[in-house]
């Protein structure tokens, strides 16, 4: 109940602020320097949050982004939709909702066919040091800290599968370096989390409760001003006794039509989920903004 109120309040704040903020837009950052939107709603790759701030606003302006992502897995379907704003290329605020549909697997899991896990994620990211575009003459990456507060709507089921909590907060630190002369972007993120399957299956568990450190890396090759390919690795905790959880991988191709629209196609390997075997599938994301 408390979680719902918090999230509604955030959504309302968002909606009122957006028209005011839209006046201060310049779309002045270079194409593709906003990254795409990762699964929890932060700017980055497909799975990993990077130190980039969403949108195309320079340090004098506001930018924003809305996305919809679809991931077709063998036993599940994931939908993900959300919006984010970038304030003066310094602070990023995001809200994303995830729908994890079990389809016929739901029946096998004893939840009923078509049972859906849902997750709200409210994120914030703050740039600390460095500039990913301009620091081409030194080794300093762009560094940002972030937090993602996640709240599930499936408390009863989560308790039943051994999760200790239905909401939790991830904290992360990202370092992103663009080696422009090599047309290569590298990112390393370290995350403190209790989330099971990104939070879809609750937080903490009977196998392990409490925070663990997880490591996420991305590499992207710029092939054109408007097109990049990349790969990511993201480790995950293994807190639940009833089902193992492993590292997630993806390879992606991101196309930036212009500063208002981008599309990302990826092959994601999320590892085993709820004892259903390796979930390898096709991921498609559309994002629009300024």
């Amino acid at each position: 109940m408390r979680a719902r109120f918090r999230l509604t309040a955030s959504a309302v704040a968002f909606a009122t602020a957006l028209p005011l903020l839209a006046q201060a837009q310049d779309s002045g950052r270079l194409l593709a320097t906003s990254g795409v939107t990762q699964i929890e709603g932060a700017a980055g790759g497909g799975l990993v949050p990077w130190a980039l701030i969403t949108g195309y606003g320079t340090r004098d302006a506001i930018g924003a982004n809305a996305h919809y992502t679809f991931d077709a897995l063998p036993n599940f379907t994931l939908h993900d939709a959300g919006a984010s704003i970038g304030l003066y290329d310094q602070l990023e605020l995001s809200y994303t909702h995830l729908w994890f549909n079990t389809g016929s697997t739901g029946a096998r899991l004893g939840l009923g066919a078509g049972y859906q896990f849902q997750l709200d994620v409210v994120g914030a990211k703050l740039r600390l040091l460095g500039d990913v575009v301009y620091d081409q003459d030194n080794w300093l990456p762009q560094i940002a800290v972030g937090a993602q507060y996640k709240a599930s709507e499936n408390a009863n089921v989560l308790r039943a599968i051994g999760a200790r909590g239905a909401d939790g907060t991830d904290f992360y630190l990202s370092a992103t370096k663009l080696l422009l002369a090599e047309s290569l972007l590298l990112n390393a993120t370290v995350r403190a989390t209790k989330a099971n399957q990104f939070g879809l299956l609750g937080f903490g568990g009977d196998r392990h409760d409490g925070y663990s450190a997880q490591f996420e890396v991305s590499a992207a090759l710029l092939l054109r001003r408007d097109f990049a390919i990349g790969a990511e690795i993201r480790t995950k905790p293994d807190n639940l006794g009833f089902a193992r959880e492993g590292t997630a991988y993806d390879v992606f191709a991101a196309y930036f039509f212009n500063k208002n629209l981008s599309a990302t196609l990826a092959f994601t390997a999320l590892g085993p989920v709820a004892n259903q075997g390796n979930q390898n599938g096709v991921y498609l994301s559309l994002a629009g903004g300024f």
Binding site: T58, V133, Q136, A181, L223, R224, F227
Partner: protein, 139 residues
Amino acid sequence: MRRLLFCLWLVGIWVGPPALAGDPLYLRLGGQAGVARIVNESVTLWLADNRIKGDFDNINLDRLRTRLADQICQLAKGPCVYKGRSMRAAHAGLDLTQAKFNALAEDVQTAMERVGIPYWTQNKLMALLAPMQRDVVTQ
């Protein structure tokens, strides 16, 4: 398998061929003639760019082209010496924003595209120009 190879070939055509590795950047940009082409096309684009064309009012363009060509030539390890003022001194008083600097950079990218510089080579020059942001942007 053949279909996959065909798709990769199509992507390769779309992406463009990589430049010859190992040549100094100055040669890869086309030497003196190539740099002149890039500079001319860049200035043409800047004068047509609504975001920044006002900043070129009351500036001797021939002089600007000469200075730019010398600077790019020197940056790219060509046989030139840039004799102009520092970036900081030359741009002080213009109140340039990050958005304007980026607009300028975008136009240089477009210029290089138009004169046929491969994308990965373009990025090598952009990497040399990017740090100038600190001195050029004062607003």
